[in-house]
């Protein structure tokens, strides 16, 4: 049976934390993703799912101007954060990244001690309080304190992959951002480490808004409150596929009763 009732727009808009208005991101002349409208809610976990090449990671990096580092990457449209278009010319991208932190696909701790990995971000952001306390509380919040408390002076690279990723999350939360972006944070990890990070996300969303890109649909179901499904389609005259946002709704609805056929096909594995 199908639901025919009109559905109210997802999320309560005054609670939205980041909003995208007609965002189009291109690499050179190639459009990677087109015309995205999205309201990312505050204090929730939002998941981006979709096939490879649909532009979900590109959109994620667009949320804290990480794309600035990729040559030829341009963004049209507006990304509103805290009442400000973060792509406005007067905005300092460094300030944006201080308030919207990022965790990457591959764990990338700095080749410094575990302590310094956490302290680095805080120090460059002008933190003046008790550094020992900050390091401990950040590591505790990332559920890695017990494993690292006796070896804070050892290199971050001496940890296992899953521990490194939690260290990277601790590093991100040490600068107390408002939003944490996670680009497939578990794809390089084993199932046990993945589980730990998922538990961690449930804890973190009490304090932060989280946006996560994942290829793992079970993960999206387990951790997210809202899910955005992206897809890619070939366009006439274009050289490749252009990504677009198909549907954005509460996770439960996306997976149980999506409005779009494409979403239904994807989440039930009948894609392509």
């Amino acid at each position: 049976m199908t639901m025919t009732m009109p559905r109210k727009t997802p999320a309560i808009t005054n609670q939205s934390c980041l909003s995208l208005e007609k965002v189009t991101i291109s690499y050179g002349s190639f459009e990677a993703v087109r015309d995205v409208y999205l309201e990312i809610p505050r204090g929730k976990v939002t998941a981006f799912i979709g096939p490879s090449g649909c532009g979900k990671s590109t959109v994620l990096r667009g949320l804290n101007r990480m794309n600035d580092l990729i040559e030829g990457c341009t963004l049209k449209g507006r990304v509103i954060f805290d009442g400000q278009d973060i792509y406005a010319p007067e905005v300092d991208p460094v300030e944006v990244r201080r308030r919207i932190g990022m965790v990457f696909q591959q764990p990338n701790p700095f080749p410094k001690s575990i302590y310094e990995n956490i302290a680095f971000g805080a120090r460059i952001n002008g933190f003046t309080g008790d550094m020992d306390e900050l390091v401990e509380s950040s590591l505790r919040k990332a559920f890695i304190w017990d494993e690292t408390k006796d070896k804070l002076k050892e290199s971050g690279n001496s940890l296992s992959g899953g521990q490194q990723q939690r260290l990277c999350i601790a590093r991100a939360i040490a600068i107390e951002p408002e939003v944490i972006l996670m680009d497939e944070p578990c794809s390089a990890l084993d199932p046990i480490s993945t589980l730990k990070i998922e538990e961690l996300m449930h804890e973190l969303k009490k304090t932060f808004s989280i946006v996560i890109v994942t290829h793992n649909m079970q993960q999206a179901v387990r951790v997210s409150d809202q899910t955005a499904f992206f897809n890619a389609e070939a366009v006439e005259g274009g050289t490749g596929k252009v990504g677009y946002l198909v549907e954005f709704d509460e996770t439960e609805r996306i997976f149980n009763s999506p409005l779009q056929q494409a979403t239904q096909d994807y989440v039930t594995g009948r894609f392509g």
């Binding site: 804290n64 990480m66 580092l69 040559e71 460094v94 300030e95 990244r97 201080r98 932190g101 990022m102 965790v103 990457f104 591959q106 990338n108 701790p109 700095f110 080749p111 680095f120 971000g121 460059i124 952001n125 990277c168 590093r171 991100a172 040490a174 600068i175």
Partner: protein, 297 residues
């Protein structure tokens, strides 16, 4: 029904040394081995010859005394030893900041546009410029014009000539060392709100420290042994060094001057200086190798 006869006959699995391919194999292995031996032969001949000729002359006096006046015996190369260090130090003080800075620009700021390509090409060409041309250039620009307090030949001018020789090595190793640092590392720093400057100075540069240090050491080793750029910039002096704005003795120029003199004492000092110079440069190269191994751990 016919049984299939295999088109290729199976032979024994044991090695048959008389087969054509195995004989050729041995022949070419021998030829390649022979040529590689010939290639390293000069190194050992030079080392052995210098050790035999110069090694026996090593004494305390060699390092503490001035060269004797023509016709007299004894003496040492103390002033030339200090001079080589002074001139190389001046060269390093110029070449390391400029070279590392240039390498940082190429690797981190230039976006590999036409300007950066031009600099890289120019740098490769500079690396191939004969050292005597660097000397002539510094002679024309600094020595002949007497820019340093009216002095003509100075240690500073010699250091500048050597700096020009060091620059390409330092720029290239810095550029390549920085580009080898994983992008994910600088992304991580930028992701926690580091500015580009902080990312480079605190994360990227320390990660590339070893290749840069290796390049610097190799550059110094090359500069320390150069003679041509020093002959008409730092000149020579039979006295103790009198600051960087006076002519200064260096070991390479001392060898050049003394080896062809008709006096035994001077010839012996030239051999002794050769030995010391070879040992220093060998040491610098070993240090560079050690640094590299340190990095790969």
């Amino acid at each position: 029904m016919t049984t299939l006869t295999p088109a290729i006959k199976h032979s024994s699995l044991c090695l048959n040394p008389s087969l054509r391919r195995n004989r050729l194999d041995r022949l070419f292995t021998t030829i390649a081995g022979g040529f590689s031996l010939i290639a390293v032969l000069p190194l050992f001949l030079v080392l052995i010859y210098v050790i035999l000729q110069g090694g026996r002359l090593i004494s305390i006096n060699l390092f503490t005394q001035l060269p004797p006046a023509p016709g007299l015996d004894g003496g040492g190369i103390g002033n030339a030893l200090i001079g080589t260090f002074v001139v190389t130090l001046v060269a390093s003080l110029i070449a390391i900041p400029v070279g590392v800075g240039g390498g940082i620009f190429l690797a981190e700021y230039s976006k590999s546009g036409p300007f950066a390509q031009f600099i890289r090409l120019g740098n490769d060409i500079l690396a191939g410029v004969p050292s005597i041309i660097c000397g002539v250039f510094v002679y024309g620009a600094i020595v002949a014009t007497r820019v340093f307090f009216g002095q003509s030949y100075t240690a500073a001018a010699g250091g500048m000539a050597l700096a020009i020789l060091m620059l390409p090595t330092v720029i290239k190793t810095t550029d390549e060392g920085l580009r080898l640092v994983p992008k994910a590392l600088s992304m991580g720093a930028i992701g926690v709100g580091a500015s580009k400057f902080v990312t480079i100075t605190r994360i990227t540069l320390p990660s590339a420290f070893t290749p840069i240090a290796t390049g610097v050491v190799l550059g110094i080793a090359r500069a320390a042994g150069e003679t041509a750029p020093l002959i008409f910039t730092a000149l020579f002096s039979p006295f103790w060094p009198e600051g960087v704005f006076n002519p200064i003795a260096t070991m390479s120029v001392l060898i050049y001057n003394f080896a062809i003199m008709p006096f035994d004492a001077q010839n012996e000092l030239a051999w002794a200086a050769s030995f010391v110079l070879v040992v220093l440069i060998l040491g610098a190269n070993l240090l560079a190798r050690w640094l590299r191994r340190f990095a790969s751990m």
